[in-house]
């Protein structure tokens, strides 16, 4: 299909739609049709789209993706080896967005279903303002619903593996998470890929937290260096619920993690943090939007990143405090560290406030490793390479230490250390 005037050409046209398998039922089919009527006229967001000015999709639009379901030469029989085994966590494995019972563990306390939770689907991630949600809904393949009705004791480790055959593939999974009032869940997500042709993961996650419910969600994106990951998450928080999120970005050609949370009930609290370490031509974008819709809620964000090579780090954070949302406490902070000449950092922390009795603050800073700090360590006999590594680690630890689950914190920290040691080896060679 030819895109409308002024729109970027992209692979997600009529041919792509034709090769996408038909949905399971009429309801889903109607949902998809409606989404396509939103996606088609707007296409992929271009540079004129304010929310996408730092993340151009030109390179992505040129890749001849086919729907992953149409690729018949993909063969995955095991979880890739580098994915850490989290002690005590049950594994839930998706390959190209499709749930693979044969690779997954049995999980106690969590209802897993491939039927869609109708009370959630399309209600929390809005297509109109989030183009990636529209893209996902237009070609939505597998749906996975997680329902938790009490405090789940076993953390769930969701591993999403992207794998292409002889052609680049794209997949658009939808994850629906419903935490009943008073229930709790810890969810770790690892998004990785197998070497080969490029892949595009376009997952959309819709989360509803009931009254007093609690969710800890730790997301790790470590795609292959030529692959794409465009994710959108919508979170709805009821009264006194609590959400803790952490997002890391370690690999991928172009990654965007977009998180939008809305406070619907008084007393809700959100912690949303992230860390990224980029190299080569990697481009990572963290876009958050926290909507304080009702009084007496709080949110806190700390994002930290280090950039090397020709990489680009983007943080866009928006805090919206509605007219009646008095006594809101909202904070956001983004700090980035340059490792060398070459990379770029773009940052846009945004406050939109309509209530007067609120505490809102944001901060942003960029810079390089402080020469004084290096000198301090050198004076104590630490060689420059180690000193730099220690300082970078400490810089990122400010974010990672906010992960309240100890095993996850340890695993994420280990991954960052691994990245750093690989990097310094590379620099030495």
């Amino acid at each position: 299909m030819k895109p409308a005037a002024g729109l970027m050409e992209h692979p997600f046209g009529a041919d792509y739609a034709r090769r996408t398998p038909a949905p399971a039922d009429a309801m889903l089919a109607a949902f998809r049709d409606q989404a396509r009527s939103v996606f088609e006229p707007q296409g992929l967001p271009g540079p004129k789209n304010e929310a996408w000015r730092f993340t151009p999709l030109r390179a992505l639009a040129k890749v001849p993706f086919i729907p992953a379901a149409a690729a018949d030469d993909v063969d995955v029989t095991a979880v890739p080896a580098p994915v850490a085994v989290l002690p005590g966590a049950a594994r839930l494995v998706l390959v190209n967005g499709v749930y693979r019972a044969d690779l997954s563990d049995k999980i106690e306390g969590v209802e897993i279903s491939t039927a869609s939770d109708r009370s959630l689907l399309g209600h929390i991630a809005t297509m109109a303002s989030v183009p990636m949600a529209a893209l996902n809904a237009s070609f939505m393949g597998a749906v996975l619903s997680l329902k938790v009705t009490k405090a789940a004791t076993t953390p769930v480790h969701l591993i999403s593996v992207a794998a292409a055959g002889s052609q680049p593939v794209a997949f658009h999974p939808r994850l629906l998470i419903n935490i009943a009032p008073g229930a709790a869940l810890t969810l770790v997500e690892t998004h990785c890929g197998l070497p080969g042709q490029a892949t595009l993961a376009n997952p959309v996650t819709e989360i509803r937290l009931g009254e007093g419910a609690q969710l800890k969600r730790y997301v790790q994106v470590a795609e292959q260096s030529d692959s794409f990951h465009l994710a959108a998450t919508g979170i709805a928080l009821a009264k006194d619920s609590r959400f803790e999120g952490f997002h890391t970005g370690l690999g991928g050609a172009l990654v965007r993690q977009e998180i939008a949370a809305v406070m619907h009930g008084t007393g809700a609290h959100l912690e949303l943090h992230g860390a990224y370490a980029l190299d080569g031509h990697s481009h990572h974008d963290f876009t958050t939007s926290i909507d304080h819709h009702v009084p007496g809620c709080s949110s806190n964000q700390v994002f930290k990143g280090v950039v090397g090579g020709e990489s680009r780090g983007v943080y866009q954070g928006r805090i919206h405090v509605a007219r009646d949302a008095q006594k809101t406490d909202a904070r956001q902070l983004h700090k980035a560290l340059f490792l060398e000449r070459g990379p770029q950092i773009d940052c846009k922390p945004e406050l939109e406030i309509y209530a007067d009795d609120v505490q809102c603050a944001h901060g942003a800073a960029t810079g390089e490793i402080d020469a004084d700090h290096l000198f301090f360590l050198a004076a104590r006999g630490i060689d420059p390479a180690t000193a730099r590594m220690l300082l970078v680690e400490a810089f990122l630890a400010d974010a990672t230490e906010r992960i309240s689950e100890e095993t996850v914190r340890a695993a994420f920290t280990r991954d960052i250390q691994g990245w750093l040691s690989r990097r310094s080896l590379k620099a030495a060679a």
């Binding site: 304010e50 940052c347 922390p349 406030i353 209530a355």
Partner: protein, 483 residues
């Protein structure tokens, strides 16, 4: 007789064809709307050389190409502006008022509060002022002295004739005609403005201000200001006035260009207090201004200070392009919005040279049903080694029906650069008010005191006599917002 009538009709027709309208010498007014003819008319009125007219027409044709692509990214809501429903060569001979008795008593009350001398009040309110009015002669004396020193300070329309080489070289070099919708419009239709040139090595001994430029009345709508500070010079320029200005023009689209060469310093202070509309949000000035400074030389410095209290809509981003090594840019802003006013204002600091520094202090105060947005860009180019930026944006909300927003853009491409951005939002606490009230202050005095404290960092950077009036103005702008 019939022949005569016919001839007259033909002549009229030809004339109409040529200019598209009839010139009424008495009122000196072009018809409504914008066309090439109007631009030719403005240029002819100013007796401009051919290259000026060409520049205007180029801008106009580009503006037509833009169609209705008015910038829409700002957080502003206003009805669509009909550009054909405005006068572009506004009637400068609008009947002056005979005496102060005819002036709106509310306006006079404000003047009194600000402590503005009577003669000055007359001038501001648009009352016909006698030719031997004191300050005029004073201004003339100063003008002569400045001339002797080599300072060029005159209306830009005069500079076009007297110093075409300077105007040609610098006009549009900081804000090109294609810069943005409103700058393009301005480049096509600007009627007048200030031109300042400070020669090498001179520290301009007095503050220059539009107020002292006597023949400048009623040119406010599309003003064009160009200030050039040659090597090693210094100038402080004041724009506007603390007193509210009586002005019927709805749309204002001004362009200000500053150029600082090696070791030069320009300090540009603005107090903008145009008519903000009434308490219901009816009327008021739409202020779309493009202000930009180029720190071209080594060690050059530009400092913008603005106190924005007027206008129904403010769209203004005084910026600095820090090209020269070691150059620095500073931006101090107080924006106060009350009732239904909307302000979307901030700055852009573009660091290109090495060791460039910028500092941004922005204080936004919002009351009534107003919306106040800080929008700023800090961009560090790949070659801007050791660039530094510090940004602080504080918002104060008075009442629960207003809005305060902060939208900073920070783009960094240099590892040795350091940028910092901080923003806070707060309100006037009951405790602070109670403390002041207990000491016998009225509610309004207390608010004024607290807000002045909040803005202190910015007001301090204004020239002294200006600062005193600005402090009073802060209080006046917020009248009726509390209690």
């Amino acid at each position: 007789m019939a022949v005569t009538r016919e001839t007259a009709a033909t002549v009229k027709e030809i004339e109409q064809y040529k200019y598209g309208f009839v010139t009424d010498i008495e009122s000196d007014k072009a018809p409504k709307g914008l066309s090439e003819d109007i631009i030719r008319f403005i240029s002819a009125k100013k007796n401009e050389p051919e290259w000026m007219l060409e520049g205007r027409l180029k801008a106009y044709r580009y503006w037509l190409e833009l169609g209705d692509q008015e910038p829409d990214w700002a957080k502003l809501h206003y009805p669509k502006i009909d550009y054909q429903d405005a006068y572009y060569y506004a009637a400068p001979k609008k009947a002056a008022l005979a005496s102060l008795d005819e002036v709106d008593p509310k306006l006079l009350e404000t003047y009194k509060k600000l402590g503005i001398p009577l003669l000055e009040q007359q001038m501001l309110a648009g009352v016909a002022v006698d030719a031997v009015f004191d300050s005029v002669s004073v201004a003339t004396t100063y003008k002569k002295k400045l001339e002797e020193m080599g300072v060029i300070f005159m209306p830009i329309s005069e500079a076009v004739h007297k110093h075409p080489e300077l105007v040609k070289k610098y006009l549009g070099s900081v804000v090109p005609y294609s810069d943005n919708f409103f700058a393009t419009l301005n480049a096509a239709v600007f009627t007048d403005g200030s031109f300042v040139y400070i020669p090498k090595g001179l520290r301009c001994p007095m503050e220059l201000s539009t107020y002292f430029r006597i023949n400048e009345k009623n040119t406010g709508q599309f003003e064009r200001t160009l200030i050039i500070a040659d090597e090693g010079s210094y100038v402080s320029y004041l724009e506007g006035c603390t007193a509210p200005q009586r002005d019927e023009n709805q749309l204002h689209a001004a362009v200000v260009e500053l150029i600082a060469l090696d070791d030069a310093e320009i300090k540009y202070s603005t107090v903008q207090n145009w008519y903000p509309g009434d308490a219901q949000g009816r009327g008021g000035i739409y202020n779309f201004v493009t202000k930009r400074a180029a720190c071209r030389g080594r060690n050059s410095k530009v400092m913008w200070t603005q106190v924005e209290t007027g206008s129904a809509i403010t769209w203004k981003y005084p910026s600095c392009i820090l090209q020269g090594d070691n150059s620095s840019g500073e931006f101090y802003s107080v924006a106060i919005t009350n009732n239904h006013q909307q302000a979307d204002t901030g700055t852009k600091m573009i660091h290109l040279g090495k060791n460039t520094k910028s500092k941004i202090i922005s204080k936004g105060i919002s009351a009534g049903h107003a919306d106040n947005t800080y929008r700023g860009l800090v961009r560090i180019g790949a070659k801007a080694d050791n660039a530094r930026n510090y940004t602080q944006c504080d918002s104060l909300l008075i009442g629960s029906t207003c809005g305060a927003h902060t939208v900073p853009y920070i783009e960094t491409k240099n590892p040795t650069a350091r940028t910092e951005h901080e923003a806070t939002t707060s309100k006037i606490s009951e405790d602070q008010l109670f403390y002041c009230r207990q000491r016998g202050m009225t509610q309004e005095e207390a608010v004024s005191l607290i807000v002045n404290g909040f803005c202190k960092e910015v007001l301090q950077t204004l020239p002294m006599e200006f600062a005193v009036e600005a402090q009073k103005l802060v209080g006046i702008s917020l009248e009726g917002s509390v209690g």
